[in-house]
Structure formats: structure tokens, C-alpha cells
């Protein structure tokens, strides 16, 4: 029988976490709209980048958390790691969708089209589809142990895709702008722009952690429901 957790009594977040997250997000909005200068060629449109890039980084961090939790689940079959893995992967998918949509809304005025089958865009879409498939898989396997094990494998495979997404605009130079970090000569950003990117990234990490904790508690509730059902059936 699945263990009946104390999820109902558990507090999702310590009070300071949403307060710090909200404050950091407000400061990042101020920085990206009021403080940082306009980019020379794209003008105000480039400000989408301050949301677009950190959301991709945040998604990748979430997927790595999900993947590492999946490895730990496979090693010791502790349900807490499965809960963390599904929570991080689902939140990672949210940030990936935000990244893709903001990218499309930048591409339309910049390139004249919402989408091109460029290497980076395609690989990022594939990453989203892997995790979308992961969530569908979770719904379709009934046995909790089997579901957690199969999903852990998919989660690890998804994690392996992230370096390919990162390298895609170095390996296949087509439409997506070149790398802004570690991209060699001609790449890089104004230090103020870097500061806003990094600050927003940290703010989004806080937001991601709040969402992961909320989502993880949901998984514990589900486990409690399953445990109670099994107890009642056994009576």
C-alpha cells in the first residue's frame, strides 16, 4: 500500500519565499522596462529577450532537477523523488512554453513569421514535446511503481536533450540569433543587459521553486488519496 502522507497538514511554501519572489519579479520588471537602455538595432522589441532567455534557462534547470530526482528515484525507489521529478518537469514545461511563445511573438515583427524550422527552435520544440509526452505517459500507466520508473527513464532522456538544445545555434547556424554567452568574438551583451538577464533568471528560479513546491504538494495529495482508497478496498 502507498504510504498515507501528511500532505494535508503540510504548508506548501515558507512565508518568505513568495514575498522574495514577488519582490524580485517586480524589481526585474523595473530593470527591464525602466533601467536598461534600448538595444541599438531592435529597439524596444529586444526587451522580450529579458523574459525569453531566462525562461529557457529556468526550464532547463527545472528539467535537470526533474532528471536528477528521477535518477535518485531509480536508485532507491523513494516516492519523494518521484514527486519532485514530476513537479519539476511539469513546471519546466511551463517555462519552455513561455520561452517558445515569447520567441514567436518576437519573431513575427523581427523576421516577419512566427516560426521557422531553425535548429534551435526545432530542438526546443522537441524538448517541449518530450516533456509533454512525459505528462501523457504519467496519465496512461496505472501501476504507481511502474509509472514512476518508466517516467523516470523519459525524464533522464529529456535531460540529455538539453545540451543539444543549447548547442543547436552553434552547430546549425540558420535563423535564430547567434549565442550571446560563450559565443566567441562578436557575441556578448552590454554589462547592464547582462545584469538584467541574470537578475531576471534568479527571479524566475525563485518563481520556479515556488511552483515546484506547490506542484509537489499536489502529488503528495494524490498519493494520500491513493493510499486511502487502497485502505478502504482492503477493508
Amino acid at each position: 500500500m502507498e504510504s498515507v502522507s501528511a500532505a494535508t497538514k503540510e504548508k506548501a511554501l515558507p512565508t518568505w519565499l513568495p514575498v522574495v519572489t514577488a519582490a524580485m519579479l517586480l524589481v526585474s520588471l523595473y530593470l527591464m522596462f525602466m533601467w536598461v537602455p534600448n538595444e541599438r538595432t531592435m529597439g524596444i522589441l529586444q526587451r522580450i529577450f529579458y523574459f525569453h532567455l531566462p525562461s529557457a534557462f529556468t526550464a532547463w534547470v527545472a528539467f535537470y532537477i526533474g532528471g536528477i530526482a528521477a535518477i535518485r528515484y531509480l536508485r532507491n525507489r523513494d516516492n519523494r523523488f518521484d514527486d519532485l521529478s514530476v513537479a519539476a518537469n511539469e513546471v519546466g514545461l511551463l517555462f519552455t512554453v513561455v520561452n517558445l511563445v515569447t520567441g514567436m511573438l518576437w519573431a513575427k515583427p523581427a523576421w516577419g513569421v512566427y516560426w521557422v524550422w531553425d535548429g534551435r527552435l526545432t530542438m526546443q520544440l522537441m524538448l517541449a514535446l518530450i516533456y509533454f509526452g512525459y505528462l501523457i505517459l504519467r496519465q496512461s500507466v496505472n501501476d504507481p511503481g511502474q509509472r514512476a520508473a518508466v517516467c523516470a527513464v523519459v525524464s533522464i532522456l529529456g535531460m540529455v536533450d538539453i545540451p543539444i538544445v543549447y548547442m543547436a545555434n552553434r552547430w546549425w547556424r540558420t535563423q535564430h540569433p547567434g549565442p550571446v554567452m560563450f559565443g566567441g568574438e562578436g557575441s556578448g551583451l552590454d554589462p547592464r543587459m547582462w545584469f538584467v538577464v541574470l537578475f531576471t533568471f534568479v527571479a524566475m528560479l525563485f518563481l520556479m521553486w515556488c511552483l515546484v513546491r506547490f506542484r509537489r504538494r499536489l502529488e503528495r495529495f494524490q498519493r494520500e488519496v491513493n493510499g486511502l482508497r487502497q485502505t478502504i478496498h482492503a477493508l
Binding site: 524596444i44 523574459f51 511551463l94 515569447t102 511552483l211 504538494r217 499536489l218 494520500e224 488519496v225 486511502l228
Partner: protein, 53 residues
């Protein structure tokens, strides 16, 4: 004003709406699960009290 500002506005609105919708979805799912937990606990108590008689 730069008409590209509209696209910036769309992008930020969509990003925040997606986050808010996700939070709403978590809250809705949690509410349903809480109700199920309460219902199942009541059912379990009934089963136990019947068994105790």
C-alpha cells in the same frame, strides 16, 4: 510610440497569463484532491465504526 511596443506587450501578457493559468490549475486540482481526501476519510471512519460494532 514604437509600434513594436505592442509585440512586447503581447509577449509579456502571454507569459504572465500562462503562469497565472498554471497556478489556477494547481489550485483547482488541489481543491478537488482535498475534497476527495475528506470524503475518503469520512468513508474510512464509517467503515471502521461499522467494523467496531
Amino acid at each position: 510610440m514604437d509600434d513594436r511596443l505592442d509585440w512586447v506587450w503581447y509577449a509579456f501578457t502571454v507569459a504572465w497569463v500562462l503562469h497565472i493559468l498554471y497556478l489556477v490549475s494547481i489550485s483547482t486540482r488541489e481543491k478537488k484532491l482535498r475534497e476527495q481526501v475528506d470524503y475518503l476519510k469520512t468513508l474510512l471512519k464509517e467503515h471502521e465504526s461499522k467494523a467496531g460494532r
